[in-house]
Symmetry: C2
Subunit: 294 residues, 2 copies
């Protein structure tokens, strides 16, 4: 099976789980389920749960051990997009080719849909840990919480917020992306590694892979912000640069950013050498992100 076929099978497994993950709600607040589902089921690359499945496969553990955690992290990712798109934040009208959550359901409901997804993500991870009486799964949930909160993604969003319209120094840009994008890419890799019983060495290698992948992902995002098309992206490219946001491209230029993307991707892949052929999917996943057009 080639990479694309395997990728499609994994994504289908994830989509199926996501379809059934939001429980019924009280009859008086059916709209919250609609609003949560609207954004959660809007497609996307499903990179975060894909990473969790790929780590499990590499470490020869069943997908069932990690798929709930992968989906929970996808819910955290989705809540952050809903809140990020709000008028008070980035004020975006389109996301993944569809009107943003607040455009459809109104601002108040969008805030609550985000809150609902975040709570549910934790509920899913916690219940999974309780049902399997697994301290490792509890530890994995703690890793996700660390990367999602004010020391992780939320902190990165704050740096982003406070950097708008300013020229920022390289260290601040890197910190912003490490927290805003990198943290939630490390989360599924490290959580899956812990759940699948990776030893200290394996954990560190996987963590290094994920750190480089997150950085590469952001550099590619910044390149797409210049080179992407609205058809492929499902949103208006050029939003960051036109908002005077600092990006890798505004800081290093387009050509230098493309070189950096190659270097960082290769560094990520080199972390996987110790895993031999078992790491094939994770390696190809990293390469696929370099050539993505959305």
């Amino acid at each position: 099976m080639n990479f694309k076929e395997k990728n499609n099978i994994y994504v289908n497994m994830i989509e199926e789980r996501l379809q059934n993950i939001i429980p019924e709600v009280n009859e008086y607040c059916l709209d919250i389920k609609k609003a949560m589902s609207y954004s959660l089921l809007a497609g996307g690359k499903r990179l975060r749960p894909l990473l969790a499945l790929a780590v499990a496969e590499m470490l020869d553990k069943p997908f069932d051990e990690v798929i709930n955690f992968g989906c929970a992290i996808e819910m955290i990712h989705t809540y952050s997009l809903i809140h990020d798109d709000l008028p008070a934040m980035d004020n975006d009208d389109y996301r993944r080719g569809k009107p943003t959550n607040h455009k459809v359901f109104g601002e108040a409901m969008a805030i609550l849909a985000g809150d609902g997804l975040l709570n549910m993500a934790y509920e899913i991870m916690i219940n999974d840990a309780v049902e399997s009486k697994s301290i490792d799964k509890m530890r994995a949930a703690g890793i996700v919480a660390k990367y999602a909160g004010s020391l992780g993604m939320v902190g990165g969003q704050v740096i982003d917020l406070q950097s708008e319209g300013k020229t920022i120094e390289s260290d601040r840009l890197k910190t912003m992306h490490r927290l805003k994008t990198g943290a939630l890419i490390k989360a599924p890799v490290e959580a899956a590694a812990v759940i699948c019983g990776a030893d200290k060495k394996e954990f560190e290698l996987l963590s290094g892979y994920a750190a480089n992948l997150g950085l590469a992902f952001q550099i590619k995002d910044d390149i797409l912000d210049i080179e992407g098309t609205v058809e492929n992206m499902g949103k208006n490219p050029g939003n960051d640069s036109s908002c005077n946001k600092s990006t890798y491209v505004t800081m290093y230029g387009l050509e230098e950013s493309k070189k950096l993307l190659e270097t960082v991707t290769q560094e990520g892949i080199s972390c996987l050498e110790a895993f031999g052929n078992n790491a094939q999917f994770l390696k190809e996943l990293a390469l696929s992100l370099v050539v993505r057009d959305r």
Copy 2:
């Protein structure tokens, strides 16, 4: 020691823990810690952590077992107030006698401060469970998640949102309050009961106490919305009634609501009979909520 003295000691313990609970953040996003602390440390009755401590005391377990969970639930309560006060939601300018979070830090930061507090609440509970390798604490975190999310408080906020300006039926009003207010009052009681090893009978009695307490709390809130003063409340009373929100008072009238408050409080207290004198504090806590002026 009388009730008031004991209450003060408990509240001081809680305030001290809350003072130290938000960790340092990255140097580039110090404002997120400021915004989170601003609302978390704005005082208040601290009812939810108080309940956790009181249950531990009654079941003869150390406060240290439950105080993190109590504080985590206070953080969830605080995040919900920050988001509730936003212009897109209730658009409130004052809370606990101080300008609301978005009035001080702006809307975007207030959204993120709420998100940060919610994430941190889970991080605290999960880390506590991991450190003590306690499946019971993990179960307790699952209870909190259930009551905080779209099947609990968030669901109640949605019913509230969709009921504005409408006359709603009694069953919808009760469901709204059971979810919006009641759920997060049940959470510390049930979580502490599980952590402290309550048996099935004890758990059900405590859960019954908390359900009645939550209902009484909301009825009293609706009475204060009519009878309270801005000095005591730290916010404008009359906000709900002037927004044409249905309340117990608009539905049953002031006198009938006061009778209902008495009845429900006594029903709550009667759930505690089996615990004898050990339940003294929880009983007096219920009575103190009837006569509160804020």
